[in-house]
Assembly symmetry: D2
Homo-oligomer: 424 residues x 4
């Protein structure tokens, strides 16, 4: 996203906050309140949000159902910070998660609270896989994004972010994600050969970590059959399959887990972002019970018991996942986006416009790789928050709240269309 | 801490939650509400809290001043999840932090929001130090604790936690913390020789990371002159000094920063735990402005803009740090603890009891290294939450809220005394 | 190769020498003398040698021309051990190497004596490449073999040998060697995509290390056009190309360097094995002059000045490389081998026999992957020394001295044919 | 050693050989022949050699006894290059080594031929220790020197040589060598504390690698009691003790092994340099039989069967080690050196001259750390080859052949005295 001239009211950010800040550069406003799919800045200007906290706000900003539960909990002095103590809020969450999410899907997982961020969850998943298998190596995919702490960063693709590590990132090997080699190579031909050949030079991996749709990597959508073949490969070759569902889980692609469509059962699953429902820091690491070889306290963290988040998480599961309505609605809204993108791409076929997506995550790309940033910058001026993704920020990423109304969706898509036209 | 028999009402924790859970084993209750220095379980039993969320609740549970600010913010739909966008809540925090914390102490730091957990802050500090210096190696100290993600874990001392990594942890070298060699060796003799000798085999470090008081490592208190000598060594030998003030900052030892007493200015400081004041996930990485070589977005994280935490953090700074009252009170409370521990140790001199501490962090140790766990278990039965620390859990750790009343403190110390007597 | 019952006269090997010994297990004889293509054991039995010291005896055992020079040098007390001092023997070698090898081929290389073994040369090549490019990562190929010290082992493919490291081998990434994916994938498609994509997750390599024919890896022959495409890729993507010519150089494939056929000029070349001509330990690392950024003594080694080896090396260059006879003869002998293998494979087409090779290095493989070991064991009984290669020892490897006579070659090939028939 | 102006007859070295060359810079002569303790350059000038091939020529240059055996072997076409095949030369060596070296000292070792250089031996020792213990970490000592390949370099102290690796060297931790902290710290206090404390942060080492006298590191002599305490520590703490006797073994300090004086039995011993006796590349790795867990071929190398070296090695053992004469003579010669150094140091006490050593390895140091290079440069002009050692080349290193005559020794020591005087 392009960097715009600083405004005066931004000054403390410019003088005191580190240069590492990024979103605030592309969206030079000071936001104040938010509700559903809309944010309002301190000057009263309203923005439609098609970014949804990078997927952390699937139920919209300050969702009233969750807000009520949260306020009630805080008002009655429900325990806030609970480390990994047993609390009533945590029990309610665990019981609801089991009842609403795991049992109906026949998923046998144990639940770990690894700390409140996605990268905490990924770190715990990688540790566990290495401990279980007694091997160091992990396979990830081209353009994967799994987090910024050293364990997660080593399986993240982005060269710019990797360089930030300050040490050589090792123990990870990238394999081609689905479609990466444009269909010129049979799926997993290379990976399978490396594994079967005792002379290949690949350190045998403990695990494979994958996103079903790569959000940061450019909205790359894996086909269900590709995911099934991957699960089968992992099973046959004695590697654990970790699905990082931090951005694509919690209903983003339709089903609660993004891998449901493929009919696979990963060995380990990471969840974060929208699991609390309210944008509060929370994450989970789920795994098959036979993998639960942790010693007490072998992994820990101060904020792994963020009880207000458990409360909103429970409320969100109750409100949205007790039946199949949310999933159906997401798919319907997804079709609405697809139609709009189809029209935009037809209109812009001269610019090599094309799109891809699933559920309510979509990407729009142009032959000119700088166009996406221009589109997002123009969209901001028009009151729509849109981000780019991909290694060269070459993809416009659509990630509206799942609770967006058809009217809001339509409004945002029309703004996108206009932003595209006005950046031609 | 000893593991106790499960109760029926714990069942979902036992069946669904991972074996990695730990505190809930030593404290087999289901906690429900909390206020100030007290928690209440679902059966209505009350507990006095001398653990304070491992130092995350310096202002007590659900502090009413912060609670009001938090409720107001949530009620008015203040933005909750803000990535690193500019928000009014974040601006208020930054301005207050500058006004109340940095300026009066003449600290020139830039402020980075590296993600909401301590380990996020440590990872960012290590990355930055390596990037600035172009070296991989970092020196840490015996019995250091800096976090569970791979970067932080590599500079953490505990062998059990290190083993959880599943890969060899490298790029870190331990040096003896203050008092480690019982005064038999001049301070920094070994470290300085390694640095000055081109044949020593030490990879030249980018940075040294230190806690002024090691909380997890056994309440090991560095003398101010030791810290000053360390700062001087770092300066002379071109290494950055990182003070990890996650557990000891925010007033735990008296001053806002634990290093103030020594009169040093670290190059990088990490804060978390009590910075939000309310037990909400939040952390900061502070550094000298000339170190701010980050590219925009080079380090990021979904929950680095936890705005409700900014709100309570601002309220806490305003309420407790606008003047020097909090610092004075902590030192007074500390003396109260010291007197009580002195009495306990005199009474138990036959058991080799001794203690140490600063401000409101204290440790009590016995010749019998298993005694600490027994004391904590008995304290729990008597309604007092106490944890052990140290590599063999051999130290009883006292970490009451800073807002504890003299009466509560007295009550807890009497309970501790009783628990000690009853485990003799 | 199969392990045979120990004989009495082997006892000191069995009781005193480590279990790591290998060739002596498959060839249970005590060898005494050798001349040309023949060895004689202590019982007077003669063996035809189609292994040639794993490529170290291209001019045969105890070649009389070199022997005379060696004896003269020793007799006149020519300096034996010279570290990296200037000596007359070293000067003669350098001048001859320049005159006979480098100048006629228009190769601009500087010459480094990195220690007397192949792995010393590879270690120095990798160090230099990393130093020049300031990057840690190196790309190697499936089934590569570069040596047993940790630097070389990290770019070697064999899983069994890699496991011997006792540490995770990192900083290397394998790519598919020519033919590895059976023509299903365009050459370098994957490698190029990884390099061009800033999100691929590949740490940018300092260098690529390759053998033109993989000797240990199973006699895998790279096509000239594949090598040219690789050289081009390295050039375009700013990676150094290292050709490890330790086994295939010194005329094994015809030309002095095995890469001459492809018309490429690698940035760095390693030579060892037959460079001394007499089986004496010696190795070289050659590189473009602009890469000569070594500081004096930055890499060293006690035996890098093995002067008797310089003497025989000089004599070998003078005797065999002053004109093009050796190259022509090798190609003629190679055709003789090819014809014989063609006949064997036609005869054994039912067993899936197939072969491949170049110059005087050839491999014979059967559908039954254990057949190669059986053939070699039978050949030994018939008086022919033959070794297997490949990750499963599935390839019979033919590596006769380049100085083998047509009659000896015919004899050995007939023995091979018989061994194949008798192991059907 | 200082770099001198190139002479014309050096030109091919200057134009063709890599800048990495070092000794030839300080000794700008082209050496031609050598005998005993003397070298002769091509201009007929004679030099007395107090460097002895960095300890590879303990029996002098081209020792006539060994020379005869070598010539006989070559003349009769004894097998030269034998990989790890059983040969009569190898058997003779093994039997003699057992009879003359191992049995009289009651050493139970198995013998491994790991390749012909010291660094090959160290790499194999480290691999074996890691494999046996299942741990990656190895402890080495300040100013250790173990070799230039990546495994050995990681346990070498010299920062300049370490930097040549081009990757961060990890898995090694330095501990203070004897006398390193000038007696201010009890021996092994720090090391033992790190090992006994589960919170120390030291990755538990598989092994400790040590030289009894550090040759490259500055002629640092460990006391026997220090070595015994180290052996005891290794035993108690389940770490293997590796003595790298490459430079100090083969009689350099008096006994065949340098650790005999201390009465310890290391778990693993590396030998190279003077083991062949004639300066031919050869090395051994010795270890307790219960450590012989190698799989056949798990470590290998092309030149590990350098049979001419076995022949001279056998002749050397027979000639010099069948009785105790050599050991006695070395100690007598050592006293002669000691007396001379004592006199020099008394004479130069104003320059802070001091010395240290054992057997026939001695070091002379001055307060002015650049003096040693000046002394060596002047000695060269006076016809004496002397090298410096230590991280700043601050030590004049005396390493004459063990076979030096008292007269030669006297001559050299007088030249040294003169060189010292003339550089004051």
């Amino acid at each position: 996203m392009t960097v715009t001239t600083p405004l005066d009211h931004l000054s403390v950010f410019e003088t005191l906050e580190s240069e590492v800040r990024s979103y605030c550069r592309g969206w030079p406003a000071v936001f104040d309140t938010a509700q559903g799919a809309r944010l309002t800045d301190e000057d009263g200007r309203s923005y439609l949000d098609f970014f949804a906290g990078a997927g952390s706000l699937n139920y919209g900003h300050n969702n009233p159902v969750l807000k009520r539960a949260l306020l009630d909990y805080i008002e009655r002095d429900g325990i806030t910070h609970g480390l990994d103590m047993a609390t009533t809020a945590k029990r309610a969450f665990l019981e609801t998660f089991q009842e609403v999410v795991l049992r109906p899907r026949d998923l046998p997982y144990k639940v770990m609270f690894p700390g409140p961020t996605g990268t905490n969850a990924v770190e715990s998943a990688l540790k566990l896989a290495r401990k279980v298998k007694g091997r160091e190596s992990v396979v990830s995919f081209t353009n994967a994004f799994h987090g910024m702490s050293l364990g997660s960063l080593a399986v993240t693709g982005n060269a710019f972010k990797r360089a930030g590590a300050g040490i050589p990132l090792v123990h990870g090997t990238p394999m081609p994600f689905d479609h990466y080699l444009d269909g010129q190579v049979p799926d997993f031909l290379w990976f399978e050969r490396l594994l079967e050949d005792q002379g290949s030079g690949l350190n045998k991996p403990a695990a494979v970590i994958v996103e079903t749709v790569q959000g940061e990597g450019g909205i790359n959508v894996a086909r269900p059959e590709w995911l099934r073949a991957l699960a089968d490969l992992c099973h046959r070759r004695d590697m654990l399959l970790i699905v990082d569902d931090i951005q694509m889980g919690c209903g983003r692609t339709g089903g609660f887990f993004s891998f449901e469509e493929a009919g696979i059962t990963p060995d380990i699953v990471t969840l974060s972002k929208s699991i609390s429902g309210y944008g509060l820091p929370m994450s989970l690491c789920l795994f098959r019970p036979e993998l639960d070889v942790w010693e007490p306290g072998e992994h820990n963290g101060t904020f792994r018991g963020n009880n207000p988040a458990f409360v909103t998480a429970t409320a969100a599961l109750d409100a949205y996942w007790a039946d199949g309505q949310m999933e159906k609605q997401t798919l319907v809204r997804g079709e609405q986006v697809e139609q709009a993108l189809l029209a935009i791409c037809e209109e812009n076929s001269a610019y090599g416009a094309h799109f891809r997506g699933r559920g309510l995550v979509w990407g729009l790309e142009f032959a000119d790789r700088s166009r996406a940033s221009a589109v997002c910058a123009r969209a901001f001026e028009l009151g729509l928050l849109l981000e780019t993704s991909g290694p060269e920020s070459q993809v416009v990423k659509l990630l509206p709240p799942l609770t967006v109304t058809p009217e809001e969706l339509d409004e945002g898509l029309r703004t996108l269309d206009r932003a595209v036209r006005e950046t031609a």
